[in-house]
Symmetry: C2
Subunit: 316 residues, 2 copies
């Protein structure tokens, strides 16, 4: 388990390096949700998503000799960019194991941040096995995308900043993939404000955490086919699930069409560029699956290319 | 002429009503521009553009009896929404004269803010004449989109906020349509920082201000055909030109293709939704037409629908 103090320590490590992202409000959104809604816009984080927080917290905590040998990450994209940026800032080097069907823009951006990208087939190969082999061969330290206390604690700084700016939230909503973001955020929220309700949101096809909470143990599903490419986890993390089963009140799900609607709303009415995975919490709100009076919503990332965005819009 | 004190008075009137919009930086943009660039994001202003500042400053300065009769505006869109919102906030009512070819989203949004929308044919009818007739018939007060000292002063609060946050700019770049935004901004910039260079940006097809500055008097051009629908003025305002000929150092222009490139850059790399008119200053920067060390750029609005954005992208 991680605790509030772990997140506070992370906040100190990332201070002045990570962006303190803005919180937006919209009268239109308030009207649609029947609530006062506060949107924490992690699309403006370094690398375009919240992932930089956890990656920097983790890599900055490694010993100098470990950092000098380099770090390894497997990721559908945002974690990759985050690790690449953090490694460069911390005088380390990053090797990124990325699925062949990841968006090209993410691979290019990751290389642009100075990382070496190694591709694999997500449908037939195990990233864990390939990652373990690479780590051994090259003496690299694995930076897990979520199942690591330092990564979870880093992601929790999102909620720490949001509650610092808007203390009186009665609901906090965040996307759930592997569960690191919501684990960190729930830890902060339940510590600072025990009466708050913490709600996770998954894509319909990737409801492994909802199923796991219902079953009382981690359930594995097939690789979900969804436009929310950052939320394609097949089962909750071991460490994240231990946190989330205690601290997350509910996990709801949204369809791909609802995600596109939310992206369009965020574009048209709030002028925010948000990727599919980043829009699920707003999608849940707009679909009426979240109720409250003062709702904090994490918009977790904005890494969708303009061309891909236009395609998604045309498909809806 | 307006002076710094007029803008400071406007700042007091809009305080707590208008948004103090965020200023963004991007390492990628800095690299491309070879400068430290600070982007004032008026896409996050109420109504989605800077226009609210001037409209609220103007309408709040009217006598109560005038406000009670209502206000009138003619506008391709953003000024309309701004006047509608400001009128509602100030217990007035707004009638908006809008060209038939204005984006549907803008007409709908304007009605949504409680205004009555009256359409006219921009290619055959004079908005000034129709506006004057409506004002007389209904006893309405005309709120001009730019050629009014109170409107210019309101728009100048953009530069007041930007220079408050980033005092050491050596260049300030802003879009030029009728010239109200840059008149207010140039007044602030030259007062607070006499050595600053103020650069305006027009669409290539709508270079009436550049031509007028070259001629030393106001020059009228045909209605420009450009995707920058907010910058389709046919000649500079009388009052704005008097300010701009004294305080604007240079006006450069950008093509529609360069505008789309800038919109795409702002989307992909900065996660900002910016309309064509709002992106011209970034377009000029990316096209190498603006040089400096510490450059302030006004991104003036974000009112482009997601579908229209996708269309523009496909056209480029």
């Amino acid at each position: 388990m991680i605790e509030l103090a772990d997140v506070q320590a992370a906040a100190q490590r990332i201070d002045g390096v990570a962006h303190r992202t803005p919180v937006f409000t919209s009268r239109t959104l308030d009207g649609l949700a029947g609530a006062s809604v506060h949107v924490k816009a992690e699309c403006f984080q370094r690398g375009g998503a919240f992932k930089f927080r956890g990656a920097f917290n983790k890599i900055s905590s490694l010993g100098e000799d470990v950092r000098a040998r380099g770090v390894l990450a497997y990721s559908s994209g945002n974690h990759a960019q985050a690790v690449a940026i953090a490694a460069t800032l911390l005088d380390s080097s990053a090797t990124i194991l990325m699925p062949e069907d990841a968006p090209v823009a993410k691979a290019e951006a990751t290389r642009g941040y100075g990382a070496e990208v190694v591709l694999y087939d997500r449908w037939t190969e195990s990233r864990e096995e390939i990652g373990a082999r690479l780590a051994e061969e090259r003496g690299l330290e694995l930076v897990r995308p979520y199942d690591d206390p330092l990564v979870m604690a880093g992601q929790g700084t999102v909620a720490l900043e949001l509650l610092d700016e808007v203390p009186e939230l009665d609901v906090l909503v965040a996307p759930v993939g592997g569960g690191g973001l919501i684990a960190g955020c729930a830890t902060v929220a339940k510590s600072l404000r025990p009466e708050i309700r913490v709600i996770g949101v998954e894509p319909e096809a990737g409801d492994d955490t909802a199923r796991s909470l219902a079953a009382g143990e981690r359930v594995r599903i097939a690789v979900p086919r969804t436009i929310a490419d950052g939320l394609q986890a097949t089962e909750p993390g071991e460490l994240t699930f231990a946190v989330n089963r205690e601290r997350v009140d509910e996990v709801v799900s949204v369809s791909d069409a609802e995600i596109v609607d939310a992206m369009t709303f965020l574009f048209d009415r709030m002028k925010l560029v948000v990727e599919p995975s980043g829009a699920v919490a707003i999608a849940a709100l707009l679909a009426g699956r979240v109720r409250g009076e003062r709702i904090g919503v994490v918009v977790s990332g904005g890494n969708v290319g303009a061309v891909r965005f236009a395609e998604l819009l045309g498909r809806a």
